[in-house]
């Protein structure tokens, strides 16, 4: 039905595609895709308990979870930036054997199921992990602590920053770095005064993306850090738990996360794609 209507009317309405008919073969699946992606978000808005929203969001656990989420995601983003920018530089600028392998390792968390990431982190930092005895000797225990949340989020989110910044570095080529070298600038000065300022927009975009991913982190966090209110229960975990005990609270929390995500998306305004492609 829809296809039939489109076929008749669309070409007149869309002068941009003036030649011939609109390609129904493409439009119909596109419409399905848009509905599929948009409907769940709409459903959250429709089913939200708007009248009791204020009450639900003012609960202590919600405030706790929100604050914990924002704090851990911020720390994870800071750590990712400090470590991720140099990592991106090494991948983009240095020529060494095994570089491709290293790039694969760095980007692996992008496609790895987060739960697997959480398990892997347990085998590094857990009591039986490879660093476990060392940490135990130092009296440090990471799993099921807030520090564990930060580690889980960093593991999952840092690749977004690395990939974004690396793309920008590769795209920037080395012309300006060569010019800086002929003007007497050493490697560090060149990085600080030329390379970094030129990729700063991509570092910003990567950091925002990284923050968004850290904020939504669930699988690795619940596996590695558990679900302790006030310590490791971030917003996504609170949503999940809430769904079993208090569905209205779950929807309210989901709304909150949705609002945060939309804010981030607005802040990015297509920067991510730009940063990746500008390459």
């Amino acid at each position: 039905m829809i296809a039939g209507q489109r076929r008749g009317s669309a070409p007149k309405n869309r002068p941009g595609i003036g030649r011939g008919r609109l390609p129904v073969v493409l439009l119909v699946p596109a419409l399905v895709g848009l509905v599929f992606l948009g409907l769940p978000l709409l459903a959250v808005l429709i089913r939200a308990p708007w009248s009791s929203l204020g009450h639900l969001l003012s609960e202590q656990t919600v405030g706790q979870a929100l604050r914990l989420s924002l704090e851990t995601a911020a720390i994870a983003t800071a750590v990712s930036t400090l470590v991720g920018v140099p990592t991106a530089w090494v991948l983009a600028r240095l020529r060494f054997p095994g570089r491709r392998l290293l790039r694969t390792v760095v980007t692996l968390p992008l496609v790895l199921p987060p739960v697997v990431g959480g398990v892997a982190l347990l085998y590094v930092f857990g009591r039986k992990g490879i660093l476990g005895p060392l940490l135990a000797d130092l009296g440090i225990s990471i799993p099921f602590t807030t520090a564990g949340v930060v580690i889980a989020e960093t593991f999952v989110a840092m690749p977004f920053l690395v990939v974004t910044v690396e793309g920008a570095l590769i795209g920037q080529d080395e012309r300006f770095e060569e010019a800086a070298a002929t003007l007497g600038a050493g490697a560090w000065t060149t990085f600080r005064r030329v390379t970094l300022p030129l990729v700063a927009p991509s570092v910003g975009a990567g950091a925002v993306l990284c923050f968004a991913r850290a904020l939504g982190e669930f699988g690795a966090t619940i596996t590695f850090a558990g679900n302790l209110p006030g310590t490791t229960q971030t917003l996504p975990l609170a949503v999940y738990i809430g769904l079993e005990t208090n569905p209205n609270a779950a929807i309210a929390l989901s709304l909150l996360l949705l609002a945060v995500s939309l804010t981030i998306l607005f802040a990015l305004r297509g920067r991510w794609a730009g940063g990746m492609v500008r390459a």
Binding site: R175, F176, E178, A179, A180, A181, T182, L183, G184, A185, G186, T189, R193, V194, P197, L198
Partner: protein, 355 residues
Amino acid sequence: MTLDAAVRLRQDSFTLDVSLAVAAHEVLVILGPNGAGKSSLLRVLAGLVPIEEGRIEMDGEIWEDAALGIRRPPQGRRVGVVFQDYRLFPHLSALENIAFGLRTGGMPRAAARATAGAWLARAGLAELAGRRPGTLSGGQAQRVAMARALAFEPALMLLDEPLAALDAGTRAATRSELRHQLTAFGGPSLVVTHDPIEAATLGDRVLVLDDGKVAQTGRFTDLARRPATPYVARLVGLNLYRGQVRGAVLHVDGGGTLAVPDRTADGESLATIPPSAVTLHLEEPGRSSARNQWAVLVESIEPVGDRVRVALAGPPAIHADVTVESATTLGIRPGMRIWASVKAVSVDAYSPSER
């Protein structure tokens, strides 16, 4: 303050193998076709590309010596480089661009800005101090790039087609300014170009690079009179032939013969013929004072200034300049079979080594 370099390195498609010496105050123009290795040579001297064999010495200091394993990075060479695309830092103002090299040398921020400001003023750009490179015109960017390189107080100046990015009007003015700046600069300078006017006006001496090797060196006027490469011959508008002379006849490589002046020594020889010395005939000319007469095929016709340049297939092939009037009267058009004649006295034959 003398640059002495003998460098050799293999790149993807060719081998760069060049020896040169440039004295203080001297401007050496590097001339050559695209892909001859001109920019590679500058990059090697700047230290951006390591050499495989040879040595670069500046004023008695070894900058690079492949055999001794000595290699100073670009930072340790004090070269002022003006890149073809200028490479002004896009995120820094004109002033900050010039101050950059001063700051890396350890000059305090305020002093560096003041010095950079003075350089800008000298370039007549004082009012553009705060502007980003993206907002500068080509000529302004060129002057900022030049000021940035000179403010660094380099021992050696390297300029890669410094005027290529400018439009014709700006180029003439900037060219004389550039010549002035290079003369005032105390050390040796190298300027890459493929513009014969720049080669003639900017440089004291010209080095012709062909396929990574030095094909010819000398003053531009000498080069223009007796070129050793087809590239330079084309640049100055001469027909150039290479071949063997036997009894005042040049047997041209690739076919054909040319009568040359009687005193010409036997052996390998180059010969030039100015296109204006060629006469064209519709019929075989018969007996005349021109000892060179041969049948040719018109390949193309193009206007050059107030004349018409006719490309003719031989052998030997030749370019002839005729007036528009003669071309019209003769009705010359591509595909026509006609005759060319040249007096032997118009053929300048010289040994490849004496150029």
